[in-house]
């Protein structure tokens, strides 16, 4: 019994304003009903005007996926009553979407997989219901926020694959600068349909709505697949139903049966003219396209000698990727830069923005590569620079150079031996681990400005009577 999965993904576009009005689109954390106007509230007499920027962002996705952009597409009305839908219809693209076809290739357990895209279209978001003890309230801030909906062909063969596809898509969307695509914030939402085929015969599809995390996508699809397999193995039929997903209890919730399916009565929106994307406009969008992540990855492997897993980790977040690129270009060993960005800086990189200016990291890496400071020193400086918001060059000059002078090292070592007679005795009695303690004491005295290997050598020489 094979699993066949297709996804419908809603992506919130990073436009400054909404799809059909000039209200700000960044509704997240805005006080309720502060980002509204007659147009997005659907007041009588108000009319929509298409935001060209939203079209351009959607076109970037279409071009990156290799989809065929329709020269003339149209907007349709999807009619249904719901309190968060102020016009009683949603403006979407149904009959002729913005683009058709295309595909996304990604890796699953080291294997390349390709999922075809059926279509890609623009639509407006609805508001949000807020259920309280006093009743249900409505926040219309999200009304009219631009979404691009990406519909895949049923090319996915497992819940894990669906999850990885979605991750790869998120990476792409972020690199194209079309969306922050944060699932927790609802910027990337996924509906899935799944069927189980028996002996190659296609099965009946069930739909799962509102999957709002990568985990939810995988777990809900696993649950749906198990549910269908159980039905089929008992000789029962799979019904064409729509489920929701209870993320806390990890349970499918039956939302509606086939009989309850809506008739949305789509028809062309007479308030909007056909959307014409001519060759010139498309060329302008193409010219302004950011580099897609797969091209970047290939270039980094080729030019910087990264391995694929390093590249992938750096590409998850385009801000990090850009940061790495900037650092890698300015240091003698770009591959080393990957380690610095991922590991050393990575632990401090919790927000959206880099915790340290790229130029500072460059200065730090250079100082290490040129032997002016040690790696432990560099890590200390990095910590200070990030936590105390001090510039790396200032810390570097304060740190001075590494204590290289043999005489100075020897003086330092002698001092340490004098101050720690017990450790000296231990060492001489054959407890060689006492050397580590002495090295540590010496490093503390040197405030980290000494190479521990050389210090150990000097201490050893002195202890063995040199």
């Amino acid at each position: 019994m094979d699993v066949v999965i297709g996804l419908e993904i809603h992506v919130q576009l990073l436009t400054r304003t909404k799809l059909f009005c000039s209200c700000r689109a960044d509704y997240f954390a805005a006080p309720p009903n502060t980002l509204t106007c007659p147009v997005c509230l659907g007041l009588p007499g108000a009319l929509p005007v298409l935001n060209k920027k939203a079209v351009e962002l959607a076109l970037r996705v279409a071009l990156a996926l290799g989809a065929e952009v329709q020269e003339v597409s149209q907007f349709d009305r999807k009619n249904y009553f719901y309190p968060d839908l102020p016009k009683g219809y949603q403006i979407t693209q149904r009959a002729v979407p913005l683009a058709r076809g295309g595909a996304l290739t990604f890796r699953l357990a080291g294997q390349e997989r390709t999922v075809r895209v059926r279509e890609l279209h623009l639509e407006e978001d609805a508001g949000k219901l807020i259920h309280t003890e006093r009743g249900t309230l409505i926040d219309f801030n999200r009304c009219g926020v631009p979404l691009v909906e990406i519909v895949t062909e049923p090319d996915l063969r497992s819940p894990q694959e669906a999850r990885e596809f979605l991750r790869a898509l998120r990476t792409l969307l972020r690199h194209l600068r079309v969306s922050t695509a944060d699932m927790e914030k609802g910027e990337l939402r996924c509906d899935a349909n799944i069927s189980v085929s028996v002996d190659g015969r296609p099965g009946t599809k069930t739909e799962i709505k509102n999957l709002n995390s990568f985990k939810a996508v995988e777990r809900a699809l696993q649950a749906a697949a198990e549910h269908q397999r159980a039905l089929l193995s008992r000789g029962e039929r799979v019904e064409q139903v729509t489920f929701g997903w209870d993320e806390g209890r990890e349970e499918l919730l039956l939302q509606r049966t086939k009989e309850e399916a809506h008739d949305y009565r789509y028809f062309p929106d007479p308030d909007l003219v056909p959307l014409v994307v001519d060759a010139m406009w498309l060329a302008q969008v193409q010219a302004a396209m950011p580099e897609p992540p797969w091209e970047r990855e290939a270039r980094w492997i080729r030019a910087f000698g990264l391995n694929p897993s390093e590249a992938e980790a750096l590409l998850v977040d385009p801000v990090r990727a850009d940061y790495f690129e900037e650092v890698a270009r300015a240091v003698p060993n770009p591959k080393a830069a990957a380690g610095w960005v991922l590991a050393e800086l990575g632990q401090y990189w919790t927000g959206d923005e880099p915790p340290l200016p790229a130029a500072d990291l460059v200065a730090l890496i250079r100082a290490v590569e040129e032997g002016r400071i040690t790696r432990p020193q560099a890590k200390e400086i990095l910590e200070k620079a990030v936590l105390e918001r001090t510039s790396v060059p200032v810390l570097l000059s304060a740190a001075g150079g590494v204590v290289r002078d043999e005489e100075a090292l020897r003086a330092l070592a002698e001092e340490v031996l004098r101050e720690n007679p017990q450790a000296v005795a231990d060492y001489r009695a054959g407890r060689t681990q006492a050397l580590g303690f002495l090295v540590g004491q010496a490093l503390r005295k040197a405030q980290g400005r000494a190479d521990p290997k050389r210090l150990a050598h000097v201490l050893q020489t002195l202890l063995s009577g040199g």
Binding site: P38, L41, G42, L43, P44, G45, A46, L47, P48, V49, L50, R77, N79, F81, P83, P86, K87, G88, Y89, T136, I138, D263, R265, Y266, F267, P270, D271, L272, V273
Partner: protein, 466 residues
Amino acid sequence: MTPLDLSEALRALEEKRLSLSAIVDELFRVISEREPTVRAFLTLADKEELKAQASAQKEKPLRGLPIAVKDNICTVEFPTTCASKLLERYRSPFEATAVARLKAAGMVVQGKTNLDEFAMGSSTENSAFGPTRNPWDPERVPGGSSGGSAAAVAAGEALAALGSDTGGSVRQPAALCGVVGLRPTYGLVSRYGLVAFASSLDTIGPLTRSVRDAALLLSVIAGHDPKDSTSLPVPPQDYTQGLRPSLAGLRLGLPVEYVPKELGPEVLALVERWCATIEELGGQVVRLSLPLTEYALPTYYLIASAEASANLARYDGVRYTLRVPAEGVGEMIAQSRALGFGREVKRRIALGTFALSAGYYDQYYGKAQRVRTLIAQEFAEAFQRVDLIFGPTSPTPAFRLGEKADPLSMYLSDLFTIPSALAGLPAISIPGGRVDGLPFGLQLIGPRLSEARLLSAALALEEALR
């Protein structure tokens, strides 16, 4: 006193023969005399407040003259009810572009006029707030849906008014009340702030006492509006410049379908008189046929009702409309709409919903759109041979209240105004004489954006038929 028209009032003000205050006083004197019978207004400004507003506009081109506005066009000073119980208390937070332009040119809004609920009707009997009566005979209807605007102008209660024409709602009441009604080319006047009935057909147009006034008002309200995506990219134009009574050399087509025998001998004789007048003025009457005319009515009712079914979905009891409290949101929406909408509105919502439903879409809505295209082509071909088309605006003069209880007979009164509306063409109704002692309208239809030619021809016929 013979009621002034707008242009005469303007001249009288310029020449200081009349004061603004005297003009407002005279309008309100007529209102107090006629309004108890005619009931053209749903809301009326306070006289002294209006005078104060008007005098602040004195320096502008239209010098503070008042205008009446149909109550489906958004104004900020008055409620905008669409003559519907659902919007009885609705006040728009913004004003229609057409109103804003009139105000910018120096006009003040005198009040809001009655209409068939949401502009659905041809008699103004479908108003939730009671019918308007024809100033020529209070037993008769003023036509509709802009019946309030037409009656106010005809009675001398207003110098001019704005109406809206979806299938004839400016021209038919103008004809039945003996005034001038202009439907501009679709897209020439912004729909922003016109409460939508059927978006692909709705057009704001002036109702006036003279062709010159229609030209004057069109000059103010026409021109591209970025807030309306269907607004044509045409610059503002002064239609009074170059306005000359001129028919010489023009070929005027009379479609046989617009003069069926059923119109009766009196109407047919009047049409023959028009033909003679046209020839006397140097024009040429060309008899032609528009065979698709018979399909216009069903086409119109499918398209207009389909669009209306979506446009009126926003009146759901959730936000600004009347609300009937009920158990559950679905029931609340259903009951609010059941109580709030009148019979004709419900009939059209039901028809439109059906026409768009799955399985019927192509057979009804889809087919209607194809016929609409053919009708537009038929006009375009006719305009290869003639410069303008003419005929009666409406099959009959004003009928009695309650006379057309059967909706189909009511729909037939728009038989001659609907085809040009479907084609988006400009058309004007001017007083064409009397039938049964009542005003009878002559309609002139022109190619797209031929308003200048249309108005000059209308001016010539207006003078000749006076």
